[in-house]
């Protein structure tokens, strides 16, 4: 059986950037479609709680 190729190898990049805005700017400069998320800590900044929430998703 032929091993699977990650689909993204054949696709144009469409990027959501969470965190440093610099990375979004750099992608934009390369004409790559990118949306920068004005990120704020989830769960009111409580990382432990954020992780609980993430773990609860199936």
């Amino acid at each position: 059986m032929k091993p699977p190729i990650p689909k993204i190898f054949d696709e144009p990049l469409k990027v959501v950037n969470l965190g440093l805005a610099m990375f979004a700017d750099n992608l934009r400069a390369e004409n790559i479609d990118v949306i920068h998320v004005d990120w704020r800590p989830p769960a009111g900044g409580d990382a432990r709680l954020a992780n609980i929430l993430a773990a609860l998703e199936d």
Binding site: P6, V15, V16, N17, A24, L27, I32, A50, A54, E57
Partner: protein, 516 residues
């Protein structure tokens, strides 16, 4: 009179939010009316009586929300309606209390770009699991630049990624190339035929830069993070990426850049490497393990690039200590002088972790015991290599590739409290790095050299520059700044390290430079 409506089927909003949004838009956009009603018959009759009904609102059901805008012009009505929908979506995502357009969460971003296929994540490490897991579950590949992510989180993220056939690059992935586009910190190169799987950002940068220098390029460069080949993570992403590149039609040769894999991972890695029917070059710094099959095992990043290019072109190639040994020998004789640095202590101050590691290995080979990330005030070790990107040195400051002060502080301190006679440095260029990294180094070296001269001491400085002519910093200008300051500049970190060792140990010089 322009009336516009929009129906949001089976969509509920807190009435509070609804009203606030309506009031806000009404004020903001100077329209006569913005109303949000459930599509009950009585409300539809009301809209009809007040002249606010449209064919859309007439078709709404009691479970639908009817957004109605009444404005002077068609354009105003349309733009107000857009604004309402935008604010509602924003609030529905728990984005925030303020009325801002830019999304605050992954999900609100996905509403604007539903076909996104990659999330680049550089949020604090403790929140990586939350964001990356969500991204993977929404079907996005992830590139996690953040470090300080617990290894258990990494395992979970990579399992999730694999179960969905997605890439999880990182955590602590500094560099990647996908479809010719660079991610994180990367050197500007044209796309090529060499697929890379790299446990280290600077390792990948060094290989990509060398490939560019040799006229080749990267097809995809998959960063996997420094812990992928640990026992806990089990090489999950390395194996997945290798198989992917093996099947990728653009990729004609593969380079694996890694640290020595954990022994539990070796069998799986060997098996995967053997199954690949393309040339594979393995640069496993610090290990001489032969993985068999078609793999070519190399010892340095530069050799990895050379070996891959040779394979692609069907050329024969053998590793050499220096590209131009005669020039090195000449430089050793004329520039360094009469062996008065023989026996000097070597100090490496690196911004690239893998470059530090590679230099440490080569220096150890030549000089014996060399400390790594030790305490410099402890004089028990003569030779030392420091990776200034290590948490112990950055302590909350930006990475030294962005903020050169971390290293220039160290360099300036040499004049007061160091025994070092040979200094080895790396200058890493590329997108994301400092815009003129050689300049602060040269300035600090000037101070140190003056202090050394006053004390009647000598300091030889050796450096390599990782970069391409396409990089924003101007490769030529970076090199000339260093050379003008008397720095011995080499094209590769391995050459710089070997040269540094030879300055401190002239016997090596004769052996190494003459060995070719």
């Amino acid at each position: 009179m322009p009336i516009r409506t929009e129906i949001l089927p089976s969509f509920y909003q807190d009435s509070v939010v609804l009203m606030r949004v309506a009031a806000q838009v009404k004020k903001e956009q100077a329209v006569r009316e913005v109303a949000a009603f459930m599509g009950t018959d009585t409300n539809k009759a009301l809209l009809a009586q007040t002249g606010l009904a449209t064919s859309e609102s007439a078709a709404a059901t009691a479970e639908d929300l009817i957004l109605t805008v009444d404005a002077d012009t068609e354009e105003r009505a349309a733009s107000a309606l857009e604004r309402v929908a935008e604010l509602l979506a924003e609030r529905r995502d728990g984005g925030g209390k303020d009325a801002e357009v830019s999304p605050h969460t992954l999900d609100s971003a996905l509403r604007l770009m539903p076909d996104a296929n990659l999330a680049t994540i550089s949020v604090p490490g403790e929140f990586v699991r939350f964001e990356a897991l969500r991204a993977l579950r929404r079907g996005l590949n992830v590139f996690v630049f953040s470090d300080n992510v617990p290894v258990a989180d990494e395992v979970e993220l990579k399992k999730e990624a694999l179960s969905r056939g997605l890439l999880c690059m990182g955590p602590d992935c500094g560099t990647a190339y996908l479809n010719g586009a660079g991610l994180g910190f990367y050197n500007v190169t044209t796309r090529g035929r060499v697929g890379c799987v790299a446990a280290s950002g600077t390792g990948l940068q060094a290989v990509a830069s060398r490939l560019a220098h040799l006229g080749e390029g990267v097809s995809h460069g998959i960063g996997v993070g420094g812990r992928d080949l640990s026992a806990e993570v089990g090489g999950m992403m390395t194996l997945f990426a290798l198989r992917g590149l093996a099947a990728d039609p653009v990729t004609k040769a593969i380079v694996l850049i890694s640290k020595p894999p954990h022994k539990d991972v070796v069998p799986r890695l060997s098996e995967t490497l053997r199954e690949i029917d393309k040339p594979v070059v393995v640069c496993c710094l610090g290990s001489n393990k032969d993985f068999g099959g078609r793999t070519v095992n190399v010892r340095t990043l530069d050799e990895a690039a050379h070996a891959a290019v040779a394979q692609l072109r069907g050329e024969t190639w053998a590793p050499a200590a220096f590209g131009d040994p005669a020039a090195v020998a000449g430089r050793l004789d004329t520039s360094v002088g009469d062996g008065d640095l023989a026996g000097a202590a070597v100090l490496g101050l690196f911004t690239g972790g893998t470059l530090a590691h590679e230099a440490h290995l080569l220096l150890t080979e030549g000089l014996g015991d060399v400390g790594f990330n030790g305490d410099l005030t402890d004089r028990s070790r003569k030779h030392n290599v420091i990776d200034l990107g290590d948490d112990a040195y950055t302590v909350g400051r930006p990475h030294p590739m962005i903020a050169p002060e971390i290293r220039t502080d160290f360099i300036r301190r040499l004049s007061v409290d160091s025994t070092a006679g040979v200094l080895i440095l790396d200058i890493v260029l590329g997108v994301g790095a400092h815009d003129d990294p050689a300049a602060p180094v040269v300035e600090a070296l000037g101070d140190v050299q003056a202090a050394y001269a006053a004390a009647g001491r000598r300091l030889a400085v050796v450096a390599s520059v990782v970069g391409t002519p396409g990089d924003p910093q101007n490769l030529g200008r970076q090199i000339s700044q260093l050379t003008e300051a008397g720095v011995h500049v080499f094209a590769t970190n391995a050459e710089a390290a070997r040269f540094a060792a030879m300055v401190a140990e002239p016997k090596l010089g004769r052996k190494l430079a003459g060995s070719d």
